[in-house]
Every structure is written in structure tokens, then in C-alpha cells.
Symmetry: C2
Subunit: 483 residues, 2 copies
């Protein structure tokens, strides 16, 4: 069995990505007349929707409650937590006019919602008895990016921002929540077959207003890392800034503890990219808008035409009744080959070909999208066989993606080798590190790359020495070119 080529996919990934978004009608980018803002087209919208629903199920099942806060945040609210506003103010969009009149108060398009949510929590939460409290919302956020924008990856309107915000009566409970959030994200990315590295971001790159940030990164086909999820322990920074106090079990009053964690459109970009090949997308069956496409092969005799048509309907009904998302492509102005191309591009996991021979024998030809391998099965087994294929495809995608990621991570104490790995965009390098900021920053310059942080959970680098200063290393620091 030969797998489809991944040559163009890997050698020319940025062009491949633009091509697939346009060609598969996922996301229209570059034509909308505001930089950094794009349009979700119907097929892309369905893909996005299923990914969001997967996240909703994970959060709901762990006691998170969905809410919806206003988009506009008054300037004074955004300025309440000083580190936070410093981190965001250079990239906030401001609404200054309503109709023809200037507004009394400037209103920010939310860059994230810690400030508005904490403000409202002061009215809602009075006692430890109400805690822990876990809210989330799925909204658009806005950042006036000065870097080059990329569809879904670096946008000025991020249309799919899932932000969770939690409140706790102790530091320990907030720490426990950070672990739960990491577990949720692992389960989420695992369900999508997305491989990841979990890092504790360096102090100088944590979320503005957080005690610390744990980040999920993946490596894209061009060797650059993409941040796909973050989890922040906010400590009491925001609750202090808003003077938000609750009654504790010992009847004292104190500021509660918070965490927040988010994912974005980048998850969709990753699903599209990471599993792709030169023919287009390869979607994990669980989130594919169309899971099975049936392509009838034109028959010649009247009898055969009837037989094919009858088997097509029988198979479609069987799959639909089993809750499988199936489409029959019976367009009569298109040849089967063009249809194969059309649905391969769109990443439909399983194609079923039904021609005269299949119809007469009551058998089907199943073609899996990831390997293009064909399999002939009795029509009566179609539901079982398709489900089995879904499992196999998911496992194969996940395995391939993880093996790709691992091949892109180099752990070395050879400075020269490390530098070349990063500079040539081979992926992520991990080098022994003494823990001092100046050494880490020095390597950022040396590598012309970003320090991603240290492995989470922490991995010791016993016996190793910092590649910069030669002091004993306490762990590894990760570097890569970034999106």
C-alpha cells in the first residue's frame, strides 16, 4: 500500500495551506477588505462547529458553565490590572464613536475577558460555598496585530476563542484546576489526533497578569511551532485589582484565586494542516462534516443502472440510520475521477464506490482517504466496516502526526547542532539550561528564535551543563521558530 505524497505539503507548506483553504472552500482570506479578518465558508464552518462542540462536551462534562459576556470593555475596566493592560494595550481596537457622536468613554473590543468577567463575578460570588466556579464562552476577540497576519493562525479578529475562567477558594484548588485544564486539553487534542509539547512558558512570555502560563504547542509542516492552547494560573492578581472578596470557610474574607485557559481558530488550522497531504485535507472521522461519500459509477445497461441506484440508496440509508454523516455524490455533469478529487481535497475519511460489478455482487469498494487503500466488503456489513475504518484512520492519523512531531524535536547539548536545527527550521530544540533569564535570552538571539519554555511536567537535566554559561543545568529550555 502506498500512501499519498506529502512532498508539496512539506516543502511548500505556507502555499499548501493557502491553497487548501481556498480550494476546499474552508475559509476565505485576503479578499475581505480588512486585513487579518476572514470568512468561514459553509464547509469550514461545519468543521469548526464540530471542533467547538467537542470542546463544549469536554468542558460541560467537567462542570463548566457556558456564558456570554459583552464584546465591549470600557477603558477603565481594562486598565484595572496593571500588568494585564501593559500586555495588551498596544494591540487593542478602540470604539470611540456612536453614530456621529464621540463616546464619553472609550470602549475596547475584547482582547480577552479576564477583566469583564472578574468584574461581574464580584456581584455573583460571595462565599466559598459557591466555589469552585467554572465559566466559559466561545467568542470573537480582537488584536491589532502588527506582525504579518496568516489565515486562522494570526488574525486581527480571532472568531473562535474559547476562554474558560474559574474561581477558587485557595491557591491549591487553583493549582488543581490548572491540572484539570491540562487534562481537558490533552483529551481534546488527542481526540483530534493533534500532537503537542506542553511547556511552562518563561517568565518573560507568560500571559499578562498571570502567575505562570502552561502552553500547548505543535509543530507545523514547515518546522515552525504554533501555540494552540494556554492555561494560566492567575493567582489573586485580578481579584485584588477588582477588590473581589469572598467569605472563606473560616469566616474570614479574602480575594479568591483564578485560572483561565483558552484555545482558538488555530486548532482548526492545525487539524487542516497536520493531517494533510499533497491531495488536500485528511479529516479525523469524528469531526469530518461528511464522513462517507458514496460515488456511484455510471453503468451502461438499464438493469445495471437500476441495481447500482438501488444499492446506493440501501447503503446510504444504512449509514444514515447508524448516525453516520453520509453524502451521495450523484452530480451527473461530473466524472467519477473528478468527484474522487473533489472529496479527497475536502478530506472525507471514507469513499464508497458502487458500480455495476459491485451492485451485482452486492459488494462495495471502500477507499480510505489517508492511505487511499481499497477494500472490498459485503454490502450488508457496511456499517461495521465503515466504523472499523474510522477507528483505523483515526489511529493512523494520530500515530503519523505524533511520529512527525517527534522527528522534529531534537534534544542536544551541542550548541552548534542546536543552532542549525532551529535556524534551518527543522523544528524544536531542547538544550540544557541553568535557569537564568540572561542565558535563555542570549540563546534567543543566537538561534534567532523564541524560547518556548521548559518541559511540563519539569524534566531534570542531571549531569548536563547550561550551553551558554556552563553552570549545572536544572532542566531543558525549548527553542523554535514560531508562528
Amino acid at each position: 500500500m502506498t500512501e499519498p505524497s506529502r512532498k508539496k505539503w512539506e516543502d511548500d507548506y505556507p502555499r499548501w495551506f493557502d491553497w487548501i483553504l481556498e480550494e476546499a472552500e474552508v475559509y476565505d482570506y485576503g479578499r475581505y477588505p480588512v486585513k487579518g479578518m476572514g470568512v468561514w465558508r459553509p464547509y469550514g464552518f461545519q468543521l469548526r462547529r464540530r471542533i467547538v462542540e467537542l470542546m463544549r462536551r469536554l468542558l460541560d462534562s467537567r462542570g463548566h458553565e457556558e456564558v456570554l459576556f459583552p464584546l465591549l470593555i470600557p477603558e477603565a475596566l481594562l486598565r484595572r490590572e496593571s500588568e494585564h493592560v501593559k500586555g495588551f494595550e498596544a494591540e487593542v481596537y478602540w470604539v470611540t464613536h456612536g453614530g456621529r457622536k464621540p463616546l464619553d468613554v472609550k470602549l475596547a473590543l475584547r482582547p480577552t475577558s479576564e477583566t469583564s468577567i472578574t468584574y461581574m463575578e464580584t456581584f455573583w460570588i460571595k462565599s466559598y460555598k459557591q466555589l469552585p466556579k467554572k465559566y466559559y464562552q466561545v467568542v470573537s476577540i480582537f488584536r491589532y496585530e502588527t506582525k504579518a497576519t496568516r489565515p486562522m493562525i494570526r488574525l486581527r479578529e480571532v472568531t473562535t476563542f474559547k476562554e474558560a475562567h474559574t474561581v477558587h477558594d485557595s491557591f491549591e484548588d487553583a493549582e488543581r484546576q490548572v491540572l484539570e485544564a491540562i487534562e481537558i486539553y490533552k483529551e481534546f487534542f488527542d481526540s483530534l489526533g493533534i500532537p503537542y509539547l506542553v511547556s511552562r512558558r518563561p517568565e518573560w512570555d507568560k500571559f499578562a497578569g498571570a502567575l505562570y502560563t502552561i502552553a500547548f504547542d505543535t509543530i507545523m509542516p514547515d518546522g515552525r511551532k504554533l501555540q494552540i492552547g494556554t492555561v494560566h494560573n492567575l493567582g489573586q492578581n485580578f481579584t485584588r485589582a477588582f477588590d473581589f472578596r469572598i467569605q472563606l470557610s473560616d469566616e474570614s474574607l479574602d480575594h479568591p484565586w483564578q485560572t483561565s485557559y483558552g484555545i482558538s481558530d488555530r486548532v482548526v488550522a492545525t487539524v487542516v494542516s497536520i493531517h494533510g497531504d499533497d491531495r488536500g485535507m485528511v479529516l479525523p472521522p469524528s469531526i469530518a462534516p461528511v464522513q462517507v461519500v458514496i460515488v456511484p459509477i455510471p453503468a451502461k445497461s438499464e438493469d445495471d443502472i437500476r441495481l447500482v441506484s438501488s444499492l446506493v440508496h440501501q447503503v446510504r440509508d444504512a449509514l444514515e440510520n447508524a448516525g453516520i454523516r453520509v453524502r451521495v455524490d450523484d452530480r451527473d455533469d461530473m466524472r467519477p475521477g473528478a468527484k474522487f478529487y473533489y472529496w479527497e481535497l475536502r478530506g472525507v475519511p471514507v469513499r464508497i464506490e458502487i458500480g455495476a460489478r459491485e451492485a451485482r455482487e452486492s459488494r462495495l469498494t471502500l477507499v480510505r482517504r489517508d492511505t487511499l487503500e481499497k477494500r472490498s466488503v459485503p454490502a450488508e456489513n457496511v456499517v461495521v466496516e465503515v466504523r472499523r475504518l474510522f477507528d483505523e484512520i483515526y489511529e493512523a492519523l494520530k500515530r503519523r502526526a505524533w511520529s512527525y512531531l517527534r522527528s522534529r524535536v531534537l534534544r542536544t547539548n551541542d550548541l552548534e547542532e542546536a543552532r542549525e536545527w532551529v535556524r534551518q527550521r527543522r523544528g524544536v530544540v531542547e538544550v540544557p539550561w541553568c535557569g537564568r533569564e540572561e542565558c535563555a535570552l542570549r540563546l534567543e538571539e543566537e538561534f534567532e528564535a523564541d524560547a518556548m519554555g521548559t518541559p511540563w511536567p519539569l524534566e531534570r537535566a542531571d549531569g548536563e551543563r547550561c550551553v551558554v554559561c556552563g553552570r549545572p543545568a536544572i532542566t531543558w529550555m525549548r527553542y523554535s521558530k514560531s508562528y
Copy 2:
């Protein structure tokens, strides 16, 4: 059987509405520090979500495709259709700054999306073969309202705007789409038990940029009408303004025809309001976040406690397995009476009480929220009995709401009677009308009320005379105080 009182509900509706939103934790309004913007709290969010999902199913089943367009519309795009911008420019919010820098181009927060969607359609649609095309999105829209704001009813951020936009190759096909949209909205409001009047809005009150507007209005408990849905035939106004042309079947090029239709947060406000009573909300079972609450009644003996607990779990499992949204209220710091109050307030359609007597006899007490009528049924029949109650409640709510609306509509040719009806906020009045704008506007002053338009489909007023000028009437004009 005695129904709960609707006295406070009717006599003091505006206060009742504020009270229920706060007390049932539906929507937090007035505390968020931007006027006209509120927060969907978890219970309200679930209610809103089920209403939106109902609309999605109706649209999807009729070939509509969901999309998502950017929030920000550049000034030049918004100005392309001249009537449209005239209608909206007084109430558009403008983004003028990104970070600390003024933007080159002012960006509007979308007040509606005809302009941005038509602009992108020019790239996507080239031929009549692609038509009809039906898009929709569910998004926030922004209007800098100068009138007094009301939660969910008159907002500056409308967080639940479902806007559909369609494209057609002929005027006739656009007309057919208007009818389909009206059918969809009827089915939607009928599913929610919401009564409505369908009117063709007068020329001077149609959507800015439309040929004409068909509106759905309901009458709130205080006798004021609330617009809850609109359908617009846009003609070629936007396609001409954007020079959007397609190839027709005769190979000629022409501007296609469009319609658009929308509903908003007001649907949620109506569901909450129209079915309510002095105890709180009464939700139609199909969209209730909790459909059945089980309240165990504390038992005394160990045996009884065991029996009650076992029956509670058995009933919960049976309902859950049947796909019914059930909650067991086993809070031990709250008496049953307080729990009844809590869930009645929140409109849960059916309460099941299980005490020692019920447990010993393996029977249940079912209480329906709308009438508070009690019914004792064998535990083994719970799924069938609950489903039957759901149907009965839905039918009763719908019947009561329609009979309320009908009692609030007066058709008369007695000017005096008409004026009093409207001025005293009894509801909607219909008077014979000659069809001339000046007569209709004169009555707006006389009644201190808005002309809602003429009945759709058109109803003749044969033999009647215009109450203003005495000329022969061609139809009826509706008036009412409005939200």
C-alpha cells in the same frame, strides 16, 4: 384546577420582566458598565442555546448554509448602498484606533451584514446554476440606540442575531424565498408557542435598502407590540450597488435578486414573558434547559429513606435513557417548599415529588408547571406520562398565548374606540385605511402610536371607509404602542 395568578405579571409587567431575569439567573442587566449590554448567565445561556438550535435545524433542513463573517465593516463598504447607510449611520459604532494609532479607515461594528455578505458573494457566485443560495449566521450586532434600552429587547449589543441572506436568479424566485422565510418563522414561533401578527410594514418603516418588509410582531403583557422577526425582499438594490452580476440561463448577465431575514434576542425575551405567571417563567418543554426536576421528600425511617432514594434513581435513569433532561434536586440544606419555588421560578415544565408514601406504592406525584395540577402515576409509566404532560403543557401554553393575543387585537371603524384602545395600551387596533400615507401618518399622531402596517396576506376591507379621509378603504392599518 386553579391556574397560578397572572396579576403581577400583567399589571406590572416591566418590573416582572426585570425581576425574572435577575431572580432566575437568566441575564444580568444594568450592572455591566456599558449601557445596553448584558451578560447571559448559565441558565439563560442554555435557554438561548436551545432556541438557536431550533432555528438552526429549521434553516439547515431547508438548504441554508451557516457561515461566519467578520464583525468589522469598512466605512466604504457600508456606504455602498445609499438608502441602507442612511437608515443605519446614526446608530453605527465606529472603531477608529488600533493600539495607540488612528486607523486609516474607520471600521463599523456590523449593524447587519447585507453589505459585507453581498461583497463576498461577488467572488463566490458567478452563475444561475449556483442559485438559489441561502446563507445564514448567528452573531452579535451593534446599534447605538438613543431610545431607552431594555434587556434583550432594546440593546446596543444584540448578542443573538440570526441573519439569513439569500441570492436568486429572478424576482419570482426571491418572492418564493420570502414565502419560505415566512413559513420557517411561523414554524419556529409555533414550536415556541409564541403568537404573532404578520404585517407588511408601511413604506416609511421598511428595512433600509429593501423593496418591502414583512414583520412578525407579538403583544407583550403590557399591551405593547414587540417586533420579533422580519423578512425583507431586497430586490436588486444591493447587487446593483456592488455591481454583482451573474450569468443567467439565457447567457445574459444581470444583477441577481436577494432576500434577508432576521430574528434576535427578543425571541428569548418573548418566550420568558409570554408564558409567564406570578410565580415566574413557564418554559415550553422542547427548549427548557431542565425539563423535569425530581424533588425527594425527606423520609423518617431508614427503610423509607432507602426506598425513596432507590426510586429517585430509578426514575432519573429511566428519564435520562429516554433522552429527557432531568435534574435531581438533592440539596440537603433546603426544604422541599423552597425547592418547589426555585424550580417554578425557572419554569421547569414538570416536577416529580417522591416521598415515603410514593416510594412504598411505587407511584409518583407529577406536578405540571403551567397549572400546578398534580397527578399520581405508577412509577413504571413515568416516561410515557412525562411525555404526555410535555405535549399537554405545550398545547396549553400555545392556546393560552394565542387567546391572550386575540383578546388584545381590536378591529373597529370607530375612531374614538380605536384611539382609546391604543392610548390605554390595550394592544393592537386595526382600522379601515384608504392606502394613502398621509392618512396613516395622521393616525400615528392621533393615537400617539406606530403604524405597524397592513395584514399579511392582504385582507380587503370591502365596504369600509378610511377613518381619516372617508375615502373607500382598501385594507386595514394596524396601530399600537411599541417597544
